[in-house]
């Protein structure tokens, strides 16, 4: 097994009294696309700044290619950053912007020009070489920033909410291009976002952060299907959350007492453990012909038509504190005020320690 490209071990950071990172450890594999996903204030941007060298952590170590880079300044570490506001040099042409990193390395002008043109071609902006940044659109500036950061062939490319300033359509388009470019150059990308759709679409490895900690990490499919914590079950996609406590455990089967009655589930948690059950909206079944595990009946409060499906919100009749979120086919005849049976298959219930 080869050493990881980046090894963050037990990193903590404080700004004054406020602790923004609490004992975070993370490894990044060569050639991977890692997404740091979390709400604002979760510490994801601070972690990226620590990787880029703009912030030196209060505690812990950062190894890049096996070398201790914890306190190495940005200029001297093998990382480059694509900033959220692009941070292009407004007084230089696009070509000079892209060639800047090479110029700092002492590469001669002819080679610089050739490689800058190559990098611009890679991001689909071959014709913009002589333009000034203010002549470009937001999406084009984004590409220039990407080319400028990639041309120096960093070990790791850091992207700070790179698509945050673009409108939705352009964001989805750039998202596909980012992934394609990453596959082509093979550089490890670490990308910070609060957009879970972006995370699922781009990541090989998804890291969910909250309150300065890593809540969950793994392939996005796994994080979505089997979130490790309550937070990641609600932040990475939506879930219905039912809280309960294990009352009996025997032969790999547990009985969980919940707001909507006792449920029999597979699991090995000892009796007395408090748990949360999470169910993804597409797994909740509304109506009589339901799944194996019943959650009683609920009153539909809201139906939102979303094109290919309807999003249904319902309140449990047994416990008004329990809100169901379900996704039903667009053709389903559900209306606010309907009383429906709610159920799901046992295998679709995600058991979370809480």
């Amino acid at each position: 097994m080869t050493a990881p490209l980046v090894d963050i071990s037990s990193v903590s950071h404080r700004f004054g009294q406020h602790t923004v990172l609490k004992n975070v450890s993370l490894t990044i594999e060569p050639g991977s696309y890692t997404i740091l996903l979390g709400p604002s204030g979760s510490g994801k941007t601070t972690l990226l700044s620590i990787l880029g060298g703009f912030v030196t952590p209060s505690q812990g170590k950062v190894l890049i290619r096996g070398e201790d880079c914890t306190a190495v300044p940005p200029a001297k570490r093998p990382t480059t950053t694509v900033f959220q506001d692009y941070a292009l040099f407004p007084h230089m042409s696009v070509g000079s912007n892209v060639g800047f990193g090479l110029r700092m390395q002492g590469v001669d002008a002819a080679t610089r020009t050739a490689r800058a043109r190559e990098a611009l071609a890679l991001v689909g902006l071959a014709t913009a070489f002589d333009k000034k940044p203010h002549q470009l659109s937001g999406g084009q500036r984004q590409r220039v920033a990407l080319a400028r950061a990639l041309v120096v062939e960093p070990a790791v490319l850091l992207l700070d909410e790179p698509l945050g300033a673009l409108d939705l359509k352009l964001r989805r388009q750039m998202q596909d291009e980012l992934k394609a470019i990453q596959k082509r150059v093979g550089t490890a990308f670490i990308h910070v976002t609060h957009d879970q759709e972006e995370a699922m679409a781009l990541a090989d490895h998804c890291v969910v952060m909250n309150d300065g900690r890593i809540e969950d990490e793994g392939p996005p499919e796994r994080v979505y299907a089997r979130p490790a914590t309550r937070f990641s079950a609600t932040f990475m996609g939506e879930s219905t959350l039912i809280s309960g406590a294990v009352t009996a455990a025997k032969d790999g089967t547990i009985t969980v007492a919940t707001q909507v009655g006792s449920l029999l589930l597979t699991g090995t948690l000892p009796a007395g453990t408090t748990v949360a059950l999470a169910v993804r909206p597409e797994h909740l079944v509304l109506g009589a012909a339901g799944g194996a595990v019943g959650f009683g009946t609920a009153k539909v409060t809201d139906v939102v038509f979303q094109g290919s499906f309807k999003r249904v919100l319902a309140v449990s009749e047994k416990d008004p504190a329990l809100h169901f979120i379900a996704r039903v086919p667009a053709a389903a005849a559900v209306q606010p005020g309907d009383i429906v049976a709610v159920s799901c298959d046992a295998g679709d219930i995600i058991l979370l320690a809480s």
């Binding site: 703009f54 200029a75 990382t79 950053t81 506001d85 700092m104 203010h134």
Partner: protein
């Protein structure tokens, strides 16, 4: 009634501008006088007094001295002002607000006080009265101005631009030289030209701190002691013309700023 208001407001405007510009108009007009006294009736136009100014080596060398002092002291003031603005904008310093206040304080102190203070100080330090001493005085009065102009233009957006340069491998001095200075160029030039304007017609400090070689305003004052003649008008008009050119450059620099 409305017509009356219009007429009165026009008269008022004419009176105001007349009050401001009439002295200058009179000065320039009588610099073109053909006879020996700058008093009505106007006998020109004639350029004989301009010829006289350019033939007077004391005046021409004072003019060169003034230009040198203005250019060099402004270059020093804008350099120091830029570096301090950059320091205050980019680093968290203890007592930052107090220090910023102190650096701009000379703007509120009279030139006479600054000149006297420097005179005492230079006397004590053994620096002779000279153009250099006057130049240092001009740096003292213009540095706060340059600092204030440049500091006000240092936005947060540039922080990320500088970071990007550092991230791409630029050492700090290259970040300053290749990124910060060009990005701040309009403010830097504006500070430079405004400093030149102030240094160019500054009298009190130059009067106190120079002796044999002196600047143009001091030389004009010398000339005035022997009474009015159209030569003083001519040299005054030249001073005014140079000031206008500098102010125009200053305005152009401020207006030329286009969105990044």
């Amino acid at each position: 009634m409305r017509a009356l208001v219009r007429i009165v407001s026009w008269l008022y405007a004419v009176a105001i501008y007349g009050f401001i510009f009439l002295p200058v108009v009179v000065l320039v007009l009588f610099s073109l006088q053909a006879t020996s006294f700058p008093i009505p009736p106007f006998t020109g136009p004639s350029l004989r007094w301009y010829d006289a100014v350019l033939a007077d080596t004391r005046l021409t060398s004072a003019l060169v001295n003034s230009l040198l002092v203005a250019a060099l002291s402004s270059a020093a003031a804008v350099t120091l002002g830029f570096l301090s603005a950059w320091g205050f904008a980019r680093f968290a310093l203890p007592g930052s607000a107090l220090l910023r206040g102190l650096i701009t304080l000379p703007l509120t102190v009279s030139y006479l006080i600054i000149g006297m203070g420097l005179l005492v100080l230079f006397n004590w330090a053994g620096v002779p009265k000279s153009l250099l001493a006057a130049g240092i005085g001009h740096v003292v009065i213009n540095l706060p101005l340059c600092f204030a102009i440049i500091y006000s233009q240092m936005g947060d957006h540039q922080i990320n631009i500088e970071r990007a340069a550092r991230d791409l491998g630029a050492p700090e001095w290259k970040v300053l030289l290749l990124i910060t200075v060009p990005v701040m160029a309009p403010a830097i030039f504006a500070g430079f030209f405004l400093s030149m304007t102030f240094s160019w017609d500054e009298f009190v400090i130059s009067f106190l701190l120079t002796r044999f070689d002196t600047t143009l305003p001091v030389e004009i004052w010398n000339l005035l002691r022997s009474g009015l003649n159209p030569k003083t008008n001519a040299v005054g008009s030249l001073v005014f013309a140079v000031s206008i050119v500098l102010v125009v450059f200053f305005e152009l620099m401020l207006l030329r700023r286009k969105p990044a």
